[in-house]
Every structure is written in structure tokens, then in C-alpha cells.
């Protein structure tokens, strides 16, 4: 005999049949079906029978057998719906506090969910606007060399892009860009040729003419073909065109950068406003006929260009990535072998290429291209999880409150069942009720979200708003209300509708829920989430404080950086002397390089003299600085001396940092020689200092003597920076540069700027933690109110028998303390694990110490107890007579 289950016809089809069949035909045809099914089994076996049975049922679905429309139970639905809504509404009004807590908690959760969803949507909306979206790629170098910290980067040699276009038919177009601060890319002093006064402008980039086509840049004036085709042409943004040439077509006008009138630029076009992109530029300077030094365009020595390509629709990217390896072998490696560079083997072994879809670039944090705007994919995912958690918390709250109140609804359920309600009717009733609540909550939550968005936008550094004009807003809110209404309502409705009339009428269920463990685990879930979020917020905050106050190896306070100072030219030294004469200025130095973001970086390969053909060498920053730079920045000299122009041979002097000495393997570096394109004498070693953000390890660095002008003049001032100080400095500047207004920044502020994203993450975590606690406490408040109601008689009896207020309080709160302890045991390790992996992003980070956990645990426990105690104390103090007299 086969399994009994298999011998009954497929339930789904049988139910379908029962649903549609005419009532008076139902019995005998169903019998026929049963009989037919057992015949089919004998004939075709079980699975064959099930398939043929389904077919039989479908063939029965015909007008003569389907019952008439008005016999379907569908048609009293509107009436029942109206009835259910009315009952729900009355229940809502009956318990106003309770309903307010339910809706409030729900609304806060939904608001948080919506806001975070908008944030994520915004982060994901970058570079999604291209017509040829899936054919545009950025080329990325990939290195599998475990010795490298950076495994993906975007810089290529000048010849690479033209070769791609020539050699591979699947590359429809290839273009190069330079986005980082390099020559004219980055920032410049800008003026029309007829003007005399310069204006500081940022966001310059170099681009091949093809880039206009590849990136589908819309032009208001000029044409894609011609805008950048002439040497020394550039295109400007609509914003800048309106600023400098209001109401006219600026194509053909001449502008001057950095007062260099010998080489003016002609405007070739105006770009319309661009949708969100990882690329940000206001000015694109053509790369047509540009050669940064003699032979640069054909030299494989250096990698300075980012490459973007548009492929043919039928191109196979993986195959192409393979084919590009030919360029690696025929050009890159050949060049290295010709110059006897030991790197050739490393490249042959480890280098590959990746075509990265343009839409993925913004959230890609793996690839090193710090000139681009990047979001943080990890943070986005983290926030997504938090958003879901908060929504879940809100749902859990709702479930808890709904079921806790079940005793009050038990009688209603009993009576309804006696009068003839089916369980399905009751389930429908409670679901309607929960959807009613969720709809109100979504409405309130949307209003809350709209109110909170400006503040959140500020914190997140974004401009977020609800898409009021989009067609999908209202439908998606309605769907949201329905989905979470059903989700939150499903357990309570099944739970409530399961009451047996007899039990209810006998009063057996008056103690409320049968399964406190379910509610307890929900409360535990809420507090676990809260504790995790509180610990996370604490860790992020501490890490932030650590970064901002860590001894970074130089003194960043009281330094004013005057930017754009290269236009001083020959007058630089005099300007520095004049500044030095001011009483509040302690020291003045200048350089292009400072240990904060927004100043130059430079990478050079160095070898110990005589070993350049043998070793791989060390990639190091080469910083050209004024003689007094090291003492002025208060960077500590460990060995040797600073530059000294009075000494002969000082022009070949180099001061290196500890890391560089270590990487070069120099035990006693003073007096040794290193070389890049020429030889240098090491005269000093400085203590390591942080010049990149702390996510990165301190890299090798070498100081060289720089002379004359540089982009930044930095002054260390005495005492607190004041308006008077700045006025005095500005006065000196204006004497030298009347045509250029002074731009300056305090170094400590620029430093803090580098960590604004950490700050943001911390703030958002803190807000989420507060919200989670708030929601959990709202729930707890509701639960404790209910508990007090339930246990009033018990407590009164205890009191009459002589229990003290403290004992009663302990009795009432013991359960909650237990739950919080369990939450802590669960949440602590979870938070530890999550935050440990977050901290690993930072090479320099704090360790998690026990008191983070203690503080978070105690804080959550205290808040929870406070919430519960209001009710508990009230009951403990109340006169027993009040609750017992009615008995």
C-alpha cells in the first residue's frame, strides 16, 4: 500500500473544483473525481494520475458546471469590509493611548524606513541615465599581487586608449580623461581675456573629444564633433556659462587660466546640466595635441589617464578583457624590459584588466580613483539592513501590542463564533483592522518623513525629497501599507481567531496570551536590535573621536593655508617675508603638498643608489617643500637634520619618513643615497605622520627642497585664529595680488573635512539607535500597561498579605530584566562581530573595550526599566481595595 497522502487527489485542484462547482452538482461529481483519480493511479501511477487529474478539473471548468455568480460568497464582501472597518475604528477610539502607541511606533518605523530608502535610492541613482547604459565601461587595472595595498586602479598610459580603438573592433569608441589635480586639471584662476580680475574655479578636467560622445554629454552650444577638437579648446558647464557670459552664446570666446596669457583657451561648447554621476566637472579641457612633456604621448613610462570605452552591442566583455592582455604584453612589459625594470615580471604574473560598467562605478569602493565622487557600497548595504530592522521592530511592536490586548477581544471572538462566524471571517476582520492601522501609520509616517527629510539631508550631505511628482509614489505607499499591514497582522489574526468559544465564555482565557514566550522573544528581538545599534553608534563615535584627536605626527591647529598662491610667482618669497613680519604670525612656509585632503599627491619610484636594476624599488610620495616646512608643521625629526640652504650640496638633500627607510631596508639611512631619475642624499628621517585618511596605511614619503611659488602658503599663527589676524593677513595679500581675492582654510578644519563621511555614518547610526530604543520603549510601555492591568488582582493580594513595595516592584519587573539580560547576551557578540569588521576598514582604529558594552547594556536596561517602572510603581503603591472591591 502506498502512502495515504498520495492516494488523495491533489488538494489544490480539489479545492478549486469545490470553489467553482455548482452546489447541487458538487457531491456526485466530487465522488466521480475521487473514483477517477484512483482509476488513474492504477493506470498511470501516482504522478501521471496527478497530472491527468488536474486536466480533468480544468475541463470541468465550464459554464454548465460553474455555479452562478450570486452564489459566490464574494458579494457580501463590501458590506463585511465596511463592518470590519467600523469595528476596527471603534476599537481604535476605545483605547486612545494604546492606539496612539501602536500607530506612533509604527509611523516612526515607517518614516525611518522611507527616509533610509530614499537615501539608498539616491546612492544607487548615480550614472544610471545613459542611453547606451550597458555599453559604457571604465577600464580598471587589476593586480593580484598580495604585496600591493591597492589592487584596482584606473590610471593608464597615454597610448592605451587609442590602441584599444585601433586593435579591437568591438571597441566602438575609447576616450581618456584626467580628473585628479594634475597640471590644469583640478583648480585654476579663471578670467575672460578682456578682464583683469581672476576668479578661483574648481572642477577642471582634461578629456579627449570622444568623451563628449561616450559620456553622452548634452551640449547647449557647440557640437559634439567640434567642441573639443581644436587644440586649447574647452567646454564649460551651463552654470559657469551663465555666471561669466549671461544670456549669450560663449562659443568662440577666449579665456585665460592662471594669468598665463601666452596660452589662452577658446570655449568650444557649453554642457547642459548633467544627471548624477561619479564624474564631477565644470570645465573640460581638450586633450587634443596636448603633450605634458616631450614624448609623453608615446611614452609607456607613466600612467596618468583614466579610460572610458563604448563597446559594440554584440561585444563580449570577458573575451575583450582577455584580448587586452596583448597590449600589456606588447607594450607595457616590452617597455619595462627595454628599460630593464624589474617590474616586468610582476606585471606579467599579476596584472589583468577589468571593464567596469559605468553604473557600478559610484558604489565601487575597491577601485582606487580618489578624484571621483564615490558612495560607499558597504554603508549603503548597512543602512539597508538597518532600515529593514527598524521596520521589523515597528511590526514586532504592533504584533506585541495586538496580541497582548487579546484578552479584551477574546469575548468578542467567542460571541462571533457562537453566532456563526467562520475562522476565516475572523482572520479577515483582524487583518482588516491591522491594515487600517498600517494605513494610518503610513500616512503619519509619510508626514513624519517629509518633516524629517531636511534634517536628514543635512546630516547625510544630500538633497533628498519624496518624489511627489512620480506616478509610483502613491501606489507604492498603498502597497507598503497593505504589505506591512498583512505582515504585522497575520500572527495576531491567527492567534485571536483560534480562541475556542467555550474557553472564552468560561473565562479561561482571561489571563491573556497562552504563549508569553512568543511575545517575550519578540521583546528580546527588539532589545537585541537596540543594543546592537547603541553599541555600534558608540563605536563609530569613539572611532571618530580617535581619528580627530589622534596624534597625527604634525601640528594641525593654528595653521592658516592660503590657497591658490602659485599666482604669486616671483613675489612668493617677498610675500612670505612680509607675512612673517606680522606680530601674530609665528612661521611661514609653502608647498603644493600638505597632509590634508585637497592638496597634491605624487608617486615616484625610488631605489637605493646602484640597485635600480635589481630591486622592485619603493613607490613613494615626493613632496617638494620650503626649507622650513618640517619645523613649521612641527613634524618630528628622528635622525639627521632638516634642509639647510647654507650648506653646500643641500640641493641634493632628501628627508624621508620612517616607513620609507623601513621599506628601503635601510638600518642607518643618514648619508645613504637613493635615486629616482637622479641621486639624492638622505640627510634626515622624520617620524611617520598621517598624510592620508586613516583608512590607509602610512605610505613612504620623501621631502625635497622646493623653491619659489607653490599652490599653498601656510602660516602658523600665535594664539587662537581671530578676525584681526585674518584681516592683517588679507591686507598683505591684497597688496601683492589686488586682482585675486584671497582664499584660505584652517588646516584643522580641512583635516576634519576628510572624516566627514565617518561623522555622517556616526550620526545616522546614533539616530537609528535612538529610534530603535524609542520604538522598543513604546512597545514596552504598552506591554507594561497591559501587564499591570492583568496582574492588578495578584499584586493587590500580595500586598494585603504583606509584600513590601520593593518586593512588588521586583515581582513586576523581574521578567523584563530577564529579557534585557538575554538581549544583551545575544546583542553583545553580534555588535562585536559587526563593528569589528567595520573597524577593520581603518588601518588605525580603536579597540573595542568592555565598557562600550557595559554602557550600552546599562543604558538600554535603565531606559527600559524607567518605562516599565512608571506603571509598576503606580500599581505597587495603589490601595489594594481599589482592585479587590469588585470581587
Amino acid at each position: 500500500m502506498k502512502n495515504q497522502d498520495h492516494l488523495t487527489p491533489p488538494a489544490l485542484f480539489m479545492r478549486f473544483f469545490r470553489w467553482f462547482c455548482r452546489r447541487d452538482y458538487l457531491e456526485d461529481i466530487e465522488g466521480d473525481l475521487n473514483e477517477r483519480f484512483s482509476q488513474l493511479i492504477d493506470e498511470f501511477g501516482v504522478s501521471g494520475a496527478r497530472r491527468r487529474f488536474a486536466w480533468e478539473v480544468l475541463l470541468l471548468f465550464r459554464p454548465s458546471i460553474i455555479r452562478s455568480l450570486d452564489s459566490f460568497p464574494l458579494l457580501n464582501r463590501p458590506t463585511m469590509l465596511k463592518h470590519n472597518l467600523k469595528i476596527g475604528y471603534r476599537n481604535l477610539l476605545k483605547n486612545k493611548t494604546y492606539s496612539a502607541i501602536k500607530i506612533g511606533g509604527f509611523a516612526i518605523g515607517i518614516a525611518a524606513f522611507l527616509v533610509i530608502l530614499l537615501f539608498i535610492q539616491d546612492e544607487k541613482s548615480y550614472d544610471q541615465h545613459y542611453v547606451e547604459q550597458d555599453r559604457i565601461y571604465r577600464l580598471v587595472n587589476v593586480s593580484s599581487n598580495p604585496d600591493f595595498k591597492i589592487n584596482r586602479w584606473t590610471a593608464f598610459s597615454a597610448q592605451f586608449a587609442p590602441l584599444l580603438k585601433e586593435e579591437y573592433p568591438e571597441v566602438e569608441e575609447a576616450g581618456r580623461m584626467i580628473l585628479r589635480d594634475w597640471y590644469l586639471a583640478g583648480e585654476n584662476q579663471f578670467r575672460k581675456i578682456e578682464d583683469t580680475r581672476n576668479t578661483y574655479e574648481e572642477k577642471f578636467a582634461y578629456a579627449d573629444p570622444q568623451m563628449l560622445d561616450i559620456l553622452e554629454i548634452p551640449l547647449l552650444y557647440g557640437t559634439k564633433e567640434k567642441a573639443l577638437s581644436q587644440p586649447n579648446s574647452l567646454v564649460i558647464s551651463k552654470k559657469k556659462a551663465e555666471q561669466y557670459f549671461p544670456g549669450e552664446d560663449p562659443v568662440g570666446r577666449t579665456i585665460v587660466l592662471n594669468d598665463f596669457e601666452e596660452k589662452p583657451f577658446i570655449i568650444g561648447g557649453v554642457m547642459d546640466e548633467l544627471p548624477k554621476s561619479h564624474l564631477e566637472f565644470e570645465f573640460l579641457i581638450t586633450l587634443t595635441d596636448v603633450e605634458f612633456w616631450n614624448g609623453e604621448q608615446t611614452d609607456w613610462c607613466c600612467s596618468n589617464y583614466d579610460i572610458y570605452v563604448r563597446l559594440r552591442p554584440d561585444a563580449d566583455t570577458e573575451a575583450l578583457e582577455e584580448k587586452i592582455m596583448a597590449i600589456r604584453d606588447n607594450y607595457m612589459i616590452r617597455y619595462m624590459e627595454d628599460t630593464e625594470n624589474a617590474f616586468a615580471d610582476v606585471i606579467r604574473e599579476h596584472r589583468t584588466f577589468d571593464l567596469e560598467p559605468v553604473g557600478d562605478i559610484y558604489l565601487d569602493t575597491e577601485t582606487f580613483a580618489d578624484e571621483n565622487l564615490t558612495g560607499d557600497g558597504q554603508t549603503v548595504r548597512l543602512f539597508g539592513i538597518i532600515a529593514l530592522c527598524i521596520l521589523l521592530l515597528a511590526c514586532v511592536n504592533f504584533i506585541n501590542l495586538f496580541t497582548a490586548k487579546s484578552a479584551n477581544r477574546a469575548k468578542e471572538v467567542g460571541v462571533r463564533k457562537v453566532v456563526g462566524s467562520f475562522r476565516s471571517d475572523l482572520i479577515r476582520q483582524f487583518l482588516t483592522e491591522s491594515i487600517l492601522y498600517s494605513t494610518i501609520s503610513v500616512a503619519v509616517g509619510t508626514i513624519l518623513a517629509v518633516a524629517a527629510l531636511p534634517y536628514f539631508s543635512q546630516i547625510a550631505g544630500k538633497d533628498l525629497s519624496l518624489p511627489f511628482l512620480s506616478w509610483y509614489l502613491v501606489p507604492s505607499l498603498v502597497i507598503l501599507a497593505l504589505v506591512i499591514g498583512c505582515f504585522a497582522g497575520i500572527y495576531p489574526s491567527f492567534f485571536l481567531s483560534a480562541f475556542k468559544p467555550m474557553d472564552v465564555m468560561k473565562g479561561r482565557l482571561s489571563r491573556g496570551s497562552k504563549s508569553p514566550w512568543f511575545r517575550n522573544s519578540l521583546v528580546t528581538f527588539q532589545f537585541t536590535t537596540s543594543i546592537v545599534l547603541v553599541i555600534s553608534a558608540l563605536v563609530v563615535y569613539q572611532q571618530m573621536q580617535f581619528i580627530l584627536h589622534k596624534d597625527v605626527g604634525f601640528e594641525k591647529d593654528q595653521i592658516v593655508m592660503i590657497q591658490g598662491a602659485y599666482t604669486l610667482g616671483d613675489k612668493t618669497d617677498v610675500f612670505k617675508e612680509e607675512l612673517q613680519k606680522l606680530p601674530m604670525v609665528e612661521a611661514v612656509t609653502n608647498s603644493n603638498y600638505f597632509p590634508v585632503a585637497g592638496t597634491n599627491r605624487d608617486n615616484n619610484q625610488f631605489w637605493i643608489e646602484g640597485r635600480e636594476k635589481i630591486d622592485d624599488g619603493v613607490g613613494a610620495q615626493a613632496w617638494y617643500v620650503a626649507e622650513n616646512y618640517i619645523p613649521t608643521m612641527e613634524i618630528q625629526l628622528l635622525q639627521g637634520r632638516n634642509f639647510n640652504s647654507a650648506m653646500a650640496m643641500d640641493s641634493a638633500a632628501v628627508v624621508i619618513n620612517e616607513t620609507m627607510a623601513r621599506k628601503l631596508g635601510l638600518e642607518d639611512p643618514i648619508g645613504k643615497q637613493i635615486r629616482n631619475y637622479r641621486a639624492w642624499n638622505i640627510v634626515g628621517v622624520v617620524k611617520d605622520f598621517h598624510f592620508d585618511d586613516m583608512k590607509k596605511e602610512i605610505r613612504p614619503l620623501a621631502f625635497f627642497r622646493g623653491r619659489g611659488s607653490a599652490s599653498v602658503v601656510a602660516a602658523r599663527i600665535k594664539g587662537k585664529p581671530s578676525v584681526a589676524t585674518m584681516t592683517a593677513i588679507r591686507k598683505v595679500w591684497d597688496e601683492f595680488m589686488p586682482n585675486q581675492s584671497m582664499r584660505y582654510a584652517y588646516m584643522d578644519e580641512s583635516y576634519a573635512e576628510m572624516y566627514r563621511d565617518v561623522d555622517r555614518t556616526g550620526n545616522i547610526f546614533a539616530i537609528c539607535a535612538i529610534l530603535a530604543i524609542l520604538i522598543a520603549c513604546l512597545g514596552l510601555f504598552g506591554l507594561s500597561t497591559f501587564m499591570v492591568e492583568q496582574r492588578s488582582k495578584e499584586i493587590s493580594v500580595r500586598k494585603v498579605l504583606g509584600a513590601s513595595v520593593q518586593q512588588l516592584f521586583a515581582t513586576l519587573t523581574a521578567n523584563y530584566i530577564q529579557l534585557i539580560v538575554i538581549s544583551f547576551i545575544l546583542g553583545g557578540p553580534l555588535a562585536y562581530y559587526i563593528m569589528k569588521s567595520w573597524l577593520e576598514n581603518y588601518i588605525y582604529h580603536i579597540d573595542m573595550v568592555w565598557w562600550f558594552f557595559a554602557v550600552a547594556g546599562l543604558a538600554v536596561a535603565a531606559i527600559a526599566l524607567l518605562t516599565v517602572s512608571r506603571q509598576a510603581i503606580g500599581l505597587s503603591l495603589a490601595s489594594p481595595a481599589k482592585y479587590l472591591k469588585s470581587e
Binding site: 488523495t8 452538482y25 457531491e27 456526485d28 461529481i29 466530487e30 465522488g31 466521480d32 473525481l33 475521487n34 473514483e35 477517477r36 484512483s38 482509476q39 486536466w55 480533468e56 475541463l59 470541468l60 471548468f61 465550464r62 454548465s64 458546471i65
Partner: protein, 109 residues
């Protein structure tokens, strides 16, 4: 013109009901048709035909006893009414008349 109108399937089903004589119910009829005519018919089409015949008054039906085999569901037995018998008779007579009218030549090769 005759007052009876029987479709081909209706006629066959009616005949089978008559053959089964009081034992004709859904699956029974299907099995009989399969056996005698090697003709397969779905429950859906059979029931449609049966109900139409019942509506026209050619058959009547009544429930039998509940048995265990069919999931406890009773069978509905169909029997041919006199009116139905007339209809069958007439259909047959009409056929015979037509058969007899066929000249011999028609079948010659």
C-alpha cells in the same frame, strides 16, 4: 420536423445510460464508453451532456447510497425516461430510413 433533437454525443451517452440500466453514473458511463466504443470522454464533457439531457427530460437522476470508495460521496444514478426512449427510437428510425434510401451503387467501386 421531429420534436426531438439529439446531438451525436448526446445520443451515445443516452444509449450508454440505457445499456447500464439503472447503474449509470458518471465514471460508470465513462468506463462503458471506453470499453464498448474505445471513446474517451472527460468528466467535464460527460457531465455537461448528462445535465443537458436531464434538463430536456430524456433522463432523470437520483442519489444512491454513500460508499467508502469515493471519499464518502454518493453516486448520482441516471435512468432514461420514456420520453428519452422515444427520442432514441426516433433517432434510430430516422437513421434506418436514411440507410434504406441509399442506392446500392453508392458503395460500388
Amino acid at each position: 420536423m421531429s420534436k426531438h433533437k439529439l446531438g451525436e454525443l448526446e445520443e451515445i451517452v443516452l444509449l450508454v445510460v440505457a445499456i447500464l440500466h439503472g447503474e449509470a453514473y458518471g465514471i460508470g458511463i465513462i468506463n462503458e464508453m471506453k470499453e464498448r466504443l474505445d471513446r474517451k470522454i472527460s468528466i467535464g464533457s460527460l457531465q455537461t451532456v448528462l445535465r443537458r439531457l436531464e434538463k430536456k427530460g430524456y433522463v432523470i437522476s437520483e442519489f444512491g447510497e454513500a460508499t467508502k470508495v469515493r471519499g464518502g460521496k454518493r453516486k448520482r444514478f441516471f435512468t432514461v425516461t420514456n420520453f428519452g426512449k422515444d427520442a432514441l427510437q426516433e433517432a434510430r428510425d430516422q437513421r434506418m430510413k436514411l440507410w434504406n434510401a441509399i442506392p446500392q451503387i453508392t458503395f460500388e467501386r
